[in-house]
Symmetry: C2
Amino acid sequence: MKSLYRKELLTVQWRRNAVQIIDQTKLPNKLVYLRCTDHREIAKAIKSLVVRGAPAIGICAALALLLVTINSKAKTEKDLKTELERAGGLLISTRPTAVNINWAVKRILQISSSGKNVKEIKRLVKREALTMLNDDILTNKKMGRTGSDLFHDGDVVMTHCNAGSLATSTYGTALGVLRAAREDGKNLKVIATETRPVMQGSRLTAFELMHDDFDVRLISDTAVGYVMANKMIDKVIVGADRILCTGHVYNKIGTYQIAIMAHIHKIPFYVAAPVSTFDLKSSISEITIEDRSPEEITKIKNIFIAPKGINTINPAFDITPPNLITGIITELGLLEPPFQRSIDTIIRRSRRY
Amino acid sequence: MKSLYRKELLTVQWRRNAVQIIDQTKLPNKLVYLRCTDHREIAKAIKSLVVRGAPAIGICAALALLLVTINSKAKTEKDLKTELERAGGLLISTRPTAVNINWAVKRILQISSSGKNVKEIKRLVKREALTMLNDDILTNKKMGRTGSDLFHDGDVVMTHCNAGSLATSTYGTALGVLRAAREDGKNLKVIATETRPVMQGSRLTAFELMHDDFDVRLISDTAVGYVMANKMIDKVIVGADRILCTGHVYNKIGTYQIAIMAHIHKIPFYVAAPVSTFDLKSSISEITIEDRSPEEITKIKNIFIAPKGINTINPAFDITPPNLITGIITELGLLEPPFQRSIDTIIRRSRRY
């Protein structure tokens, strides 16, 4: 493993007219970079969780549209815009719950609409997509600054799924806050949940925190209540895939029950998410929760761990209501309850997209 | 898979002076029977979860002591009793949390103490061990009768771990109740949790319920809150590894958090356990919760699903407090809150062992 750790974890990069991503399905055993030169390759990578994490797939969607403009043979701006819209639709369809793809596609389409000719559109899309990539790390560092004060030296922090470097271009959202706290001289310990079925906790969070020399321990998702009841956890921090204007947080399946248990055991429960994660228009009834393949539960590689043909219920996300959340950490500051008001004050007023 | 299903699931049997058990580490892919003729083989099988489930390992311990008497070359009753005591100690040390091994060993040693010579001890131990094996199924059927009335036609029932045929000699405790309800003409649906890290839910419960043509669906342990919040569950039923006089229930890791969520979502939470599961003497501080190997979490077969060398917290059990429990189903009837009183009235007064 040591040799893997020497390389830097740059999850999404733009290199020589291609999107270079870490293939997260190969972790923690192999660190493999994948080079994509076509937006359909990106869509496939998002769909199959080669790249995942709300901010990372948002950035990938923007870069995928940049690839569309590079590969396009369109002669008119109308044709190019049609190509971009079609590609945007494909990208949005890959993961219906996370809002960041919508955000990124909307932002690129909006910019492209101001272009007067093919050349100008290509230039504008390139500038915007690369700005979004660069902004991602700045956003994460600002979130880190916002959140660091909430954590104290010696805290043991539980996290679920992966809201780290591997969920963004780099640095991370929830794990970015822990990095910032450490940069501020605080010694934190982390307990990572495995996060079945896709095991982002054991495969990704454990991997990336060991890479950065954090004191990290891994537990099964069944042991959350046990460690909380035994007073082994001081705080919980997770990321988010979509946050509504009411403060309802869509995040990885299992987040809701961790929030319930944190509430019961009086443990502060924080969400770290950039402004791009907020969906101020939709209501719960309008949002689809992705039901993924049974094979995520029944097989690991080629080993069956359940009887063949068993039916499953495999939602990718759940909804944590605002009453279970202590605070939402954003790059614009900490949102506190009542969230409807703080989201309205801080997020709505700042939003261009 | 079909061919496996045609065979009967007899988890623990006594056949031609040997204990025959199903090797549960091979399920759901292979149905393999293991023949043990030495008590040390049984101890190893219990330790490595080849056989598991509180009632099943209790019965196995009794039969292991029967093997001691068969294999013994002791000339005096004192020597034979010493051999039995030593073997009993070994068996108890295999799984410190489940009380049924203690119960079985104590019961066999008590019987053996009344034997006046080697031959009589051997005869008494044989009769007692085989009675215990036969009683197990009768106990399960009585528990089924007690519990059936609590379930209604059309109920969707969540269960955790495996408290079925595979956790007893046959028929099961929690799943025995569901079998009894079905025999009473009720159509039940089951949602089984995977039960990481050892996956008794996906490997064993899903397997045994498909075997018996139950409508069973499998979920990740992370989806418990989701299915409850979406009103997909009417009742929860689980087994137990040890129940204290206060009504505190030791059961598979993850039970406690399911009980919390059932409580929050106002879903009845039942425990099914034979009288042999009750420990009326110990207090919480006296009971060790087994911390098992990191490899249970980090590896599946030979595949690493977490970084090598990661630290883990891997408790095998947790404690569900009585205030989260709706009722405890036993072969002597239904225990209702306040449990301290109902346990005192029904269990303590009935106990010989």
